[in-house]
Protein backbone atom coordinates (compact mmCIF):
# COMPACT_ATOMS: atom_id res chain seq x y z
CA UNK A 1 0.00 0.00 0.00
CA UNK A 2 2.73 2.39 1.01
CA UNK A 3 4.57 1.47 -2.09
CA UNK A 4 1.59 2.29 -4.23
CA UNK A 5 1.31 5.64 -2.49
CA UNK A 6 4.97 6.24 -3.19
CA UNK A 7 4.51 5.50 -6.84
CA UNK A 8 1.50 7.80 -7.03
CA UNK A 9 3.38 10.54 -5.22
CA UNK A 10 6.38 10.14 -7.45
CA UNK A 11 4.21 10.24 -10.53
CA UNK A 12 2.47 13.32 -9.23
CA UNK A 13 5.75 15.05 -8.55
CA UNK A 14 7.00 14.11 -11.98
CA UNK A 15 3.89 15.39 -13.71
CA UNK A 16 3.97 18.57 -11.69
CA UNK A 17 7.63 19.08 -12.50
CA UNK A 18 6.95 18.57 -16.21
CA UNK A 19 4.08 21.00 -16.17
CA UNK A 20 6.19 23.56 -14.37
CA UNK A 21 8.93 22.96 -16.89
CA UNK A 22 6.49 23.56 -19.71
CA UNK A 23 5.36 26.75 -18.04
CA UNK A 24 8.91 27.98 -17.66
CA UNK A 25 9.63 27.12 -21.28
CA UNK A 26 6.54 29.01 -22.33
CA UNK A 27 7.57 32.07 -20.38
CA UNK A 28 11.03 31.78 -21.82
CA UNK A 29 9.66 31.77 -25.35
CA UNK A 30 7.45 34.72 -24.51
CA UNK A 31 10.43 36.66 -23.15
CA UNK A 32 12.46 35.83 -26.23
CA UNK A 33 9.62 36.91 -28.49
CA UNK A 34 9.34 40.19 -26.61
CA UNK A 35 13.09 40.72 -26.89
CA UNK A 36 12.90 40.22 -30.64
CA UNK A 37 11.15 43.54 -30.96
CA UNK A 38 14.22 45.56 -30.11
CA UNK A 39 16.01 44.78 -33.33
CA UNK A 40 18.92 47.07 -32.57
CA UNK A 41 19.89 45.15 -29.48
CA UNK A 42 20.32 41.80 -31.12
CA UNK A 43 20.80 42.20 -34.82
CA UNK A 44 24.49 43.18 -34.67
CA UNK A 45 25.12 39.87 -32.92
CA UNK A 46 23.20 37.85 -35.44
CA UNK A 47 25.89 37.72 -38.09
CA UNK A 48 28.38 36.27 -35.65
CA UNK A 49 25.89 33.56 -34.72
CA UNK A 50 25.01 32.96 -38.36
CA UNK A 51 28.67 32.39 -38.96
CA UNK A 52 29.17 30.11 -36.00
CA UNK A 53 25.92 28.16 -36.13
CA UNK A 54 25.31 28.29 -39.85
CA UNK A 55 28.32 28.79 -42.06
CA UNK A 56 30.57 26.68 -39.87
CA UNK A 57 27.98 23.90 -39.92
CA UNK A 58 27.97 23.71 -43.69
CA UNK A 59 30.76 21.12 -43.99
CA UNK A 60 29.04 18.58 -41.74
CA UNK A 61 25.73 19.15 -43.50
CA UNK A 62 27.29 18.65 -46.91
CA UNK A 63 29.23 15.60 -45.81
CA UNK A 64 26.01 13.98 -44.66
CA UNK A 65 24.32 14.95 -47.91
CA UNK A 66 27.04 13.40 -50.05
CA UNK A 67 26.85 10.05 -48.32
CA UNK A 68 23.08 10.08 -48.15
CA UNK A 69 22.86 10.74 -51.88
CA UNK A 70 25.21 7.90 -52.75
CA UNK A 71 23.54 5.43 -50.43
CA UNK A 72 20.06 6.38 -51.65
CA UNK A 73 20.99 5.81 -55.28
CA UNK A 74 22.39 2.36 -54.55
CA UNK A 75 19.54 1.53 -52.21
CA UNK A 76 17.00 2.50 -54.84
CA UNK A 77 18.57 0.42 -57.56
CA UNK A 78 18.80 -2.53 -55.18
CA UNK A 79 15.14 -2.25 -54.20
CA UNK A 80 13.91 -1.95 -57.78
CA UNK A 81 15.53 -5.24 -58.81
CA UNK A 82 14.61 -4.84 -62.43
CA UNK A 83 10.88 -4.64 -61.89
CA UNK A 84 10.93 -0.84 -61.93
CA UNK A 85 12.87 1.08 -64.56
CA UNK A 86 16.19 2.22 -63.25
CA UNK A 87 15.62 5.88 -63.91
CA UNK A 88 13.28 5.88 -60.93
CA UNK A 89 16.48 6.03 -58.93
CA UNK A 90 16.43 9.72 -59.77
CA UNK A 91 12.86 10.06 -58.56
CA UNK A 92 13.57 8.30 -55.31
CA UNK A 93 16.74 10.25 -54.61
CA UNK A 94 15.06 13.56 -55.40
CA UNK A 95 11.99 12.88 -53.29
CA UNK A 96 13.67 11.40 -50.24
CA UNK A 97 16.50 13.92 -50.18
CA UNK A 98 14.34 17.02 -50.49
CA UNK A 99 11.37 15.90 -48.44
CA UNK A 100 12.97 14.01 -45.63
CA UNK A 101 16.60 13.12 -45.43
CA UNK A 102 18.28 16.44 -46.05
CA UNK A 103 16.19 18.25 -43.42
CA UNK A 104 16.09 15.50 -40.83
CA UNK A 105 19.60 14.10 -41.03
CA UNK A 106 21.15 17.55 -41.21
CA UNK A 107 18.83 18.67 -38.44
CA UNK A 108 19.91 15.80 -36.20
CA UNK A 109 23.57 16.42 -36.90
CA UNK A 110 23.15 20.11 -36.19
CA UNK A 111 21.15 19.34 -33.07
CA UNK A 112 24.36 17.84 -31.78
CA UNK A 113 26.65 20.48 -33.10
CA UNK A 114 24.58 23.61 -32.61
CA UNK A 115 22.41 22.57 -29.68
CA UNK A 116 25.32 21.37 -27.58
CA UNK A 117 27.42 24.37 -28.56
CA UNK A 118 24.77 26.84 -27.52
CA UNK A 119 23.86 25.04 -24.32
CA UNK A 120 27.48 24.69 -23.28
CA UNK A 121 28.32 28.28 -24.11
CA UNK A 122 25.31 29.84 -22.44
CA UNK A 123 25.56 27.35 -19.59
CA UNK A 124 29.13 28.39 -18.92
CA UNK A 125 28.13 32.03 -19.12
CA UNK A 126 25.36 31.34 -16.66
CA UNK A 127 27.45 29.50 -14.08
CA UNK A 128 30.29 32.01 -14.30
CA UNK A 129 27.79 34.85 -13.78
CA UNK A 130 28.45 36.32 -17.20
CA UNK A 131 24.72 36.33 -17.81
CA UNK A 132 24.19 38.27 -14.58
CA UNK A 133 26.99 40.59 -15.62
CA UNK A 134 25.17 41.26 -18.87
CA UNK A 135 22.07 42.16 -16.95
CA UNK A 136 23.90 44.55 -14.68
CA UNK A 137 25.26 46.27 -17.78
CA UNK A 138 21.64 46.80 -18.79
CA UNK A 139 21.71 44.12 -21.49
CA UNK A 140 18.71 41.88 -21.82
CA UNK A 141 20.11 38.34 -22.04
CA UNK A 142 17.11 37.23 -24.07
CA UNK A 143 17.76 39.90 -26.63
CA UNK A 144 21.49 39.73 -26.51
CA UNK A 145 22.05 35.97 -26.28
CA UNK A 146 18.91 34.12 -27.25
CA UNK A 147 17.36 36.02 -30.13
CA UNK A 148 20.47 36.22 -32.33
CA UNK A 149 21.02 32.50 -31.95
CA UNK A 150 17.44 31.55 -32.62
CA UNK A 151 17.33 33.95 -35.55
CA UNK A 152 20.57 32.57 -36.94
CA UNK A 153 19.38 28.99 -36.50
CA UNK A 154 16.00 29.58 -38.11
CA UNK A 155 17.58 31.36 -41.04
CA UNK A 156 20.69 29.25 -41.54
CA UNK A 157 19.25 25.76 -41.12
CA UNK A 158 17.16 26.02 -44.28
CA UNK A 159 20.13 27.35 -46.19
CA UNK A 160 22.33 24.50 -45.08
CA UNK A 161 19.58 22.03 -45.82
CA UNK A 162 18.93 23.62 -49.21
CA UNK A 163 22.57 23.30 -50.17
CA UNK A 164 22.52 19.77 -48.77
CA UNK A 165 19.62 18.97 -51.09
CA UNK A 166 21.62 20.11 -54.09
CA UNK A 167 24.72 18.27 -53.00
CA UNK A 168 22.76 15.15 -52.07
CA UNK A 169 21.06 14.99 -55.44
CA UNK A 170 24.41 15.63 -57.09
CA UNK A 171 25.98 12.78 -55.15
CA UNK A 172 23.09 10.51 -56.04
CA UNK A 173 23.54 11.45 -59.67
CA UNK A 174 27.28 10.75 -59.62
CA UNK A 175 26.64 7.43 -57.88
CA UNK A 176 24.04 6.53 -60.50
CA UNK A 177 26.44 7.26 -63.31
CA UNK A 178 29.38 5.62 -61.62
CA UNK A 179 27.83 2.52 -60.12
CA UNK A 180 24.54 1.96 -61.89
CA UNK A 181 25.33 2.65 -65.54
CA UNK A 182 22.51 5.15 -65.57
CA UNK A 183 22.88 8.05 -67.93
CA UNK A 184 22.61 11.65 -66.82
CA UNK A 185 19.50 12.06 -68.95
CA UNK A 186 17.80 9.07 -67.42
CA UNK A 187 18.62 10.16 -63.90
CA UNK A 188 17.35 13.65 -64.60
CA UNK A 189 14.24 12.29 -66.24
CA UNK A 190 13.48 10.34 -63.09
CA UNK A 191 14.30 13.26 -60.82
CA UNK A 192 12.15 15.64 -62.79
CA UNK A 193 9.26 13.31 -63.42
CA UNK A 194 7.58 13.99 -60.09
CA UNK A 195 9.45 17.05 -58.95
CA UNK A 196 7.41 19.97 -57.71
CA UNK A 197 8.65 23.14 -56.05
CA UNK A 198 6.65 22.01 -53.04
CA UNK A 199 9.26 19.34 -52.31
CA UNK A 200 11.94 21.93 -51.73
CA UNK A 201 9.57 24.32 -50.00
CA UNK A 202 8.45 21.63 -47.57
CA UNK A 203 12.02 20.60 -46.81
CA UNK A 204 13.09 24.17 -46.20
CA UNK A 205 10.19 25.06 -43.93
CA UNK A 206 10.84 21.91 -41.99
CA UNK A 207 14.49 22.82 -41.69
CA UNK A 208 13.57 26.29 -40.44
CA UNK A 209 11.36 24.81 -37.76
CA UNK A 210 14.20 22.47 -36.76
CA UNK A 211 16.60 25.38 -36.57
CA UNK A 212 14.17 27.32 -34.45
CA UNK A 213 13.60 24.40 -32.08
CA UNK A 214 17.25 23.38 -31.77
CA UNK A 215 18.52 26.87 -31.01
CA UNK A 216 15.67 27.68 -28.68
CA UNK A 217 16.14 24.46 -26.73
CA UNK A 218 19.90 25.03 -26.60
CA UNK A 219 19.40 28.55 -25.23
CA UNK A 220 16.78 27.45 -22.74
CA UNK A 221 18.83 24.58 -21.39
CA UNK A 222 22.00 26.66 -21.37
CA UNK A 223 20.51 29.60 -19.52
CA UNK A 224 19.01 27.25 -16.96
CA UNK A 225 22.30 25.47 -16.29
CA UNK A 226 23.16 25.26 -12.61
CA UNK A 227 26.16 24.40 -10.57
CA UNK A 228 29.44 24.44 -12.41
CA UNK A 229 30.96 22.11 -14.95
CA UNK A 230 28.56 19.28 -14.27
CA UNK A 231 25.58 21.54 -14.74
CA UNK A 232 26.96 22.75 -18.04
CA UNK A 233 27.52 19.17 -19.15
CA UNK A 234 23.98 18.22 -18.18
CA UNK A 235 22.62 21.23 -20.00
CA UNK A 236 24.47 20.29 -23.17
CA UNK A 237 23.28 16.70 -22.98
CA UNK A 238 19.71 17.72 -22.31
CA UNK A 239 19.83 20.21 -25.18
CA UNK A 240 20.96 17.56 -27.64
CA UNK A 241 18.45 14.97 -26.47
CA UNK A 242 15.51 17.36 -26.43
CA UNK A 243 16.50 18.83 -29.78
CA UNK A 244 16.72 15.42 -31.41
CA UNK A 245 13.36 14.37 -30.02
CA UNK A 246 11.85 17.70 -31.03
CA UNK A 247 13.13 17.29 -34.58
CA UNK A 248 11.41 13.93 -34.90
CA UNK A 249 8.23 15.29 -33.36
CA UNK A 250 8.23 18.29 -35.69
CA UNK A 251 8.96 16.02 -38.63
CA UNK A 252 5.88 13.99 -37.83
CA UNK A 253 3.92 17.16 -37.19
CA UNK A 254 4.68 18.60 -40.61
CA UNK A 255 4.02 15.29 -42.29
CA UNK A 256 0.62 15.04 -40.64
CA UNK A 257 -0.47 18.63 -41.05
CA UNK A 258 1.04 19.65 -44.34
CA UNK A 259 2.10 16.64 -46.34
CA UNK A 260 -0.84 14.50 -45.48
CA UNK A 261 -3.86 15.19 -47.63
CA UNK A 262 -1.90 16.74 -50.45
CA UNK A 263 -2.39 14.87 -53.69
Amino acid sequence: MAQIMNVIEATGRWVRFRIEEAGRAGRFIEEAARATVSLRSWFPNATLQMRRLGVDSLPIGLLIAVFTGIVLALLASYSFTGAVPLYFVGTLVEKTITLELAPVLTGLALAGRVGANIAAELGTMRVTEQVDALETLAYDPDAYLVVPRVFAGTLMFPLIVGVAMIVGLGAGWLASIGFLQLSTDEFLKGARMFYTAFDVEYGLVKAASFGFAVTLIGCYKGLRARGGAEGVGNAATAAVVYSAVMILVLDAFWAMTWLHGRS
Binding site: Q130, E135, T136
Partner: protein
Amino acid sequence: MIKWLDVYKAFGEKKVLDGFTLDVHEGEAVVIIGYSGAGKSVAIKHVVGLLEPDRGTIEVDDKDVPTLPRKELYELRAHIGYVFQFAALFDSMTIGDNVAMGLRKRGELSESEIAQRVGETLELVDLPDVQQQYPAELSGGMRKRVGIARAVALRPKYILYDEPTTGLDPVTSAVIDELMIRMREKLGVTSVVITHDMRSAYRVGSRIAMLYEGRVRQVGTVQEIQQSKDPIVRQFIEGRATLEDGESHSPTKPGAAIAGGATARGGGRV
Protein backbone atom coordinates in the same frame (compact mmCIF):
# COMPACT_ATOMS: atom_id res chain seq x y z
CA MET B 1 20.55 55.91 -1.29
CA ILE B 2 20.07 52.17 -1.21
CA LYS B 3 17.59 50.86 1.29
CA TRP B 4 16.63 47.28 2.17
CA LEU B 5 13.48 47.13 4.25
CA ASP B 6 12.47 43.87 5.86
CA VAL B 7 13.52 41.70 2.94
CA TYR B 8 12.71 37.98 2.96
CA LYS B 9 14.12 35.56 0.43
CA ALA B 10 14.14 31.80 0.51
CA PHE B 11 15.39 29.24 -2.00
CA GLY B 12 13.08 26.34 -1.50
CA GLU B 13 13.23 25.40 2.14
CA LYS B 14 16.31 27.46 2.77
CA LYS B 15 15.68 30.92 4.20
CA VAL B 16 18.51 33.15 3.12
CA LEU B 17 17.24 36.63 3.95
CA ASP B 18 14.97 36.75 6.93
CA GLY B 19 13.96 40.34 7.58
CA PHE B 20 17.07 42.00 6.20
CA THR B 21 17.07 45.79 6.76
CA LEU B 22 19.93 48.16 5.91
CA ASP B 23 20.45 51.69 4.59
CA VAL B 24 23.36 52.86 2.50
CA HIS B 25 23.73 56.64 2.27
CA GLU B 26 25.33 58.60 -0.52
CA GLY B 27 29.09 58.76 -0.47
CA GLU B 28 29.34 55.92 2.03
CA ALA B 29 31.23 52.67 1.70
CA VAL B 30 29.25 50.06 3.57
CA VAL B 31 30.93 46.71 4.07
CA ILE B 32 28.69 43.72 4.61
CA ILE B 33 30.47 40.93 6.42
CA GLY B 34 29.23 37.50 7.28
CA TYR B 35 29.82 33.78 6.89
CA SER B 36 30.09 32.22 3.49
CA GLY B 37 26.60 31.32 2.48
CA ALA B 38 25.01 33.81 4.85
CA GLY B 39 23.25 35.61 2.02
CA LYS B 40 25.49 38.60 1.40
CA SER B 41 25.51 38.19 -2.41
CA VAL B 42 21.80 37.51 -2.38
CA ALA B 43 21.28 40.80 -0.59
CA ILE B 44 23.12 42.89 -3.18
CA LYS B 45 21.71 40.99 -6.12
CA HIS B 46 18.34 42.32 -5.08
CA VAL B 47 19.64 45.84 -5.58
CA VAL B 48 20.08 45.38 -9.34
CA GLY B 49 17.00 43.22 -9.70
CA LEU B 50 18.87 40.00 -10.45
CA LEU B 51 16.75 38.42 -7.72
CA GLU B 52 13.29 39.29 -6.54
CA PRO B 53 12.44 39.25 -2.83
CA ASP B 54 9.71 37.03 -1.48
CA ARG B 55 8.67 39.91 0.73
CA GLY B 56 9.91 43.40 1.56
CA THR B 57 11.16 46.35 -0.47
CA ILE B 58 14.48 47.38 -1.89
CA GLU B 59 14.70 51.03 -2.79
CA VAL B 60 17.36 52.71 -4.86
CA ASP B 61 16.98 56.47 -5.07
CA ASP B 62 13.43 56.04 -3.80
CA LYS B 63 12.52 53.64 -6.57
CA ASP B 64 11.21 50.25 -5.52
CA VAL B 65 13.40 47.89 -7.53
CA PRO B 66 11.22 44.74 -7.58
CA THR B 67 8.23 46.59 -8.97
CA LEU B 68 10.08 48.64 -11.58
CA PRO B 69 9.02 48.10 -15.17
CA ARG B 70 11.69 46.48 -17.29
CA LYS B 71 12.70 49.67 -19.06
CA GLU B 72 13.20 51.64 -15.88
CA LEU B 73 15.02 48.74 -14.29
CA TYR B 74 17.54 48.80 -17.15
CA GLU B 75 17.90 52.56 -16.73
CA LEU B 76 18.53 52.08 -13.05
CA ARG B 77 21.09 49.36 -13.70
CA ALA B 78 23.09 51.79 -15.77
CA HIS B 79 23.70 53.78 -12.58
CA ILE B 80 24.83 50.79 -10.58
CA GLY B 81 28.14 49.08 -11.21
CA TYR B 82 28.40 45.46 -10.13
CA VAL B 83 31.74 43.78 -9.59
CA PHE B 84 31.34 40.00 -9.61
CA GLN B 85 33.18 37.66 -7.35
CA PHE B 86 35.06 35.98 -10.19
CA ALA B 87 34.90 39.10 -12.36
CA ALA B 88 32.51 37.35 -14.81
CA LEU B 89 34.27 38.84 -17.80
CA PHE B 90 32.88 37.91 -21.21
CA ASP B 91 35.56 35.52 -22.33
CA SER B 92 34.73 35.76 -26.00
CA MET B 93 35.65 39.45 -26.00
CA THR B 94 38.82 41.41 -25.55
CA ILE B 95 39.37 43.37 -22.35
CA GLY B 96 38.69 46.57 -24.23
CA ASP B 97 35.34 45.27 -25.51
CA ASN B 98 34.46 44.01 -22.04
CA VAL B 99 34.95 47.43 -20.56
CA ALA B 100 33.15 49.11 -23.43
CA MET B 101 30.08 46.88 -23.20
CA GLY B 102 28.03 49.09 -20.92
CA LEU B 103 28.99 52.23 -22.82
CA ARG B 104 27.98 50.73 -26.14
CA LYS B 105 24.66 49.70 -24.70
CA ARG B 106 23.98 53.17 -23.42
CA GLY B 107 24.79 54.54 -26.86
CA GLU B 108 25.50 58.09 -25.77
CA LEU B 109 29.12 58.13 -26.80
CA SER B 110 30.72 57.78 -30.21
CA GLU B 111 33.14 54.89 -30.85
CA SER B 112 36.15 57.17 -30.42
CA GLU B 113 34.80 58.60 -27.18
CA ILE B 114 34.18 55.08 -25.96
CA ALA B 115 37.75 54.10 -26.82
CA GLN B 116 38.99 57.10 -24.88
CA ARG B 117 36.82 56.31 -21.87
CA VAL B 118 37.93 52.67 -21.93
CA GLY B 119 41.55 53.77 -21.96
CA GLU B 120 40.99 56.15 -19.06
CA THR B 121 39.14 53.58 -17.05
CA LEU B 122 41.75 50.88 -17.55
CA GLU B 123 44.37 53.39 -16.52
CA LEU B 124 42.37 54.03 -13.38
CA VAL B 125 42.76 50.36 -12.43
CA ASP B 126 46.44 50.39 -13.45
CA LEU B 127 46.00 48.13 -16.48
CA PRO B 128 46.81 50.39 -19.40
CA ASP B 129 48.13 47.78 -21.85
CA VAL B 130 45.67 44.92 -21.82
CA GLN B 131 42.95 46.22 -24.14
CA GLN B 132 43.63 43.73 -26.91
CA GLN B 133 44.05 40.73 -24.62
CA TYR B 134 41.40 38.17 -23.72
CA PRO B 135 40.29 37.46 -20.15
CA ALA B 136 41.86 33.99 -20.17
CA GLU B 137 45.27 35.61 -20.64
CA LEU B 138 45.06 37.59 -17.42
CA SER B 139 45.73 36.63 -13.81
CA GLY B 140 42.95 36.49 -11.24
CA GLY B 141 43.87 39.84 -9.72
CA MET B 142 44.06 41.52 -13.12
CA ARG B 143 40.68 40.11 -14.05
CA LYS B 144 39.15 41.52 -10.89
CA ARG B 145 40.56 44.89 -11.78
CA VAL B 146 39.10 44.62 -15.26
CA GLY B 147 35.81 43.71 -13.58
CA ILE B 148 36.02 46.90 -11.56
CA ALA B 149 36.93 48.87 -14.66
CA ARG B 150 33.93 47.45 -16.46
CA ALA B 151 31.68 48.46 -13.58
CA VAL B 152 33.02 52.01 -13.33
CA ALA B 153 33.29 52.68 -17.07
CA LEU B 154 29.73 53.93 -16.99
CA ARG B 155 30.68 56.28 -14.13
CA PRO B 156 27.94 54.83 -11.95
CA LYS B 157 26.57 56.37 -8.83
CA TYR B 158 26.80 53.11 -6.90
CA ILE B 159 29.20 50.21 -7.11
CA LEU B 160 28.45 46.84 -5.56
CA TYR B 161 31.54 44.70 -4.93
CA ASP B 162 30.94 40.98 -4.46
CA GLU B 163 33.93 39.62 -2.53
CA PRO B 164 36.49 41.60 -4.47
CA THR B 165 39.50 40.27 -2.57
CA THR B 166 38.51 36.66 -2.06
CA GLY B 167 41.09 34.25 -3.39
CA LEU B 168 43.79 36.85 -3.90
CA ASP B 169 47.16 37.08 -2.22
CA PRO B 170 47.50 39.75 0.51
CA VAL B 171 49.42 42.15 -1.71
CA THR B 172 46.96 41.95 -4.56
CA SER B 173 44.14 42.26 -2.04
CA ALA B 174 45.69 45.45 -0.79
CA VAL B 175 45.92 46.72 -4.37
CA ILE B 176 42.22 46.03 -4.86
CA ASP B 177 41.39 47.72 -1.57
CA GLU B 178 43.36 50.75 -2.69
CA LEU B 179 41.46 50.71 -5.93
CA MET B 180 38.11 50.67 -4.18
CA ILE B 181 39.15 53.60 -2.02
CA ARG B 182 40.43 55.42 -5.11
CA MET B 183 37.12 54.93 -6.92
CA ARG B 184 35.26 56.39 -4.00
CA GLU B 185 37.57 59.34 -3.69
CA LYS B 186 38.08 60.07 -7.37
CA LEU B 187 34.65 59.29 -8.74
CA GLY B 188 32.67 59.89 -5.58
CA VAL B 189 30.76 56.66 -5.85
CA THR B 190 28.75 55.11 -3.09
CA SER B 191 29.86 51.52 -2.57
CA VAL B 192 28.61 48.38 -0.99
CA VAL B 193 31.35 45.81 -0.42
CA ILE B 194 30.78 42.20 0.50
CA THR B 195 33.71 40.47 2.10
CA HIS B 196 34.75 38.17 4.87
CA ASP B 197 38.23 39.55 4.82
CA MET B 198 38.28 41.77 7.94
CA ARG B 199 41.51 43.55 7.00
CA SER B 200 39.89 44.64 3.80
CA ALA B 201 36.70 45.58 5.60
CA TYR B 202 38.49 47.88 8.02
CA ARG B 203 40.49 49.48 5.22
CA VAL B 204 37.63 50.15 2.85
CA GLY B 205 34.53 50.57 4.93
CA SER B 206 33.05 53.69 6.43
CA ARG B 207 30.45 51.49 8.05
CA ILE B 208 30.31 47.75 8.56
CA ALA B 209 27.22 45.57 8.77
CA MET B 210 27.33 41.99 9.99
CA LEU B 211 24.84 39.69 8.30
CA TYR B 212 23.90 36.76 10.45
CA GLU B 213 21.04 34.29 10.05
CA GLY B 214 19.38 36.32 7.36
CA ARG B 215 19.35 39.67 9.11
CA VAL B 216 21.74 42.40 10.17
CA ARG B 217 23.26 41.43 13.49
CA GLN B 218 25.04 44.69 14.01
CA VAL B 219 25.81 47.74 11.95
CA GLY B 220 28.20 50.53 12.85
CA THR B 221 31.38 52.39 12.08
CA VAL B 222 34.61 50.48 11.86
CA GLN B 223 35.39 51.49 15.40
CA GLU B 224 32.00 50.40 16.72
CA ILE B 225 32.37 47.01 15.14
CA GLN B 226 35.90 46.60 16.38
CA GLN B 227 34.67 47.29 19.89
CA SER B 228 31.53 45.22 19.58
CA LYS B 229 30.40 43.29 22.61
CA ASP B 230 28.33 40.85 20.59
CA PRO B 231 30.01 37.43 20.92
CA ILE B 232 29.03 36.37 17.42
CA VAL B 233 30.41 39.55 15.89
CA ARG B 234 33.52 39.22 18.01
CA GLN B 235 34.01 35.63 16.94
CA PHE B 236 33.72 36.62 13.30
CA ILE B 237 35.96 39.65 13.34
CA GLU B 238 38.59 37.90 15.40
CA GLY B 239 38.34 34.79 13.23
CA ARG B 240 38.07 32.29 16.07
CA ALA B 241 36.62 28.81 15.84
CA THR B 242 34.73 29.16 19.11
CA LEU B 243 32.70 31.77 20.92
CA GLU B 244 34.35 33.70 23.74
CA ASP B 245 32.90 31.44 26.40
CA GLY B 246 34.78 28.57 24.85
CA GLU B 247 31.66 26.93 23.56
CA SER B 248 32.05 25.57 20.09
CA HIS B 249 29.89 27.55 17.74
CA SER B 250 28.47 26.66 14.44
CA PRO B 251 25.74 28.64 12.79
CA THR B 252 22.57 26.82 13.44
CA LYS B 253 19.95 28.31 11.26
CA PRO B 254 19.43 26.84 7.87
CA GLY B 255 20.99 29.00 5.25
CA ALA B 256 23.69 30.07 7.57
CA ALA B 257 25.72 26.90 7.30
CA ILE B 258 29.36 27.60 6.75
CA ALA B 259 30.10 24.63 4.60
CA GLY B 260 26.84 24.00 2.81
CA GLY B 261 25.18 26.04 0.16
CA ALA B 262 28.16 27.83 -1.31
CA THR B 263 26.01 28.10 -4.38
CA ALA B 264 22.38 28.89 -4.08
CA ARG B 265 19.74 28.15 -6.62
CA GLY B 266 18.88 31.01 -8.83
CA GLY B 267 22.42 31.25 -10.04
CA GLY B 268 23.47 33.62 -7.35
CA ARG B 269 26.31 32.93 -5.05
CA VAL B 270 25.05 33.32 -1.54
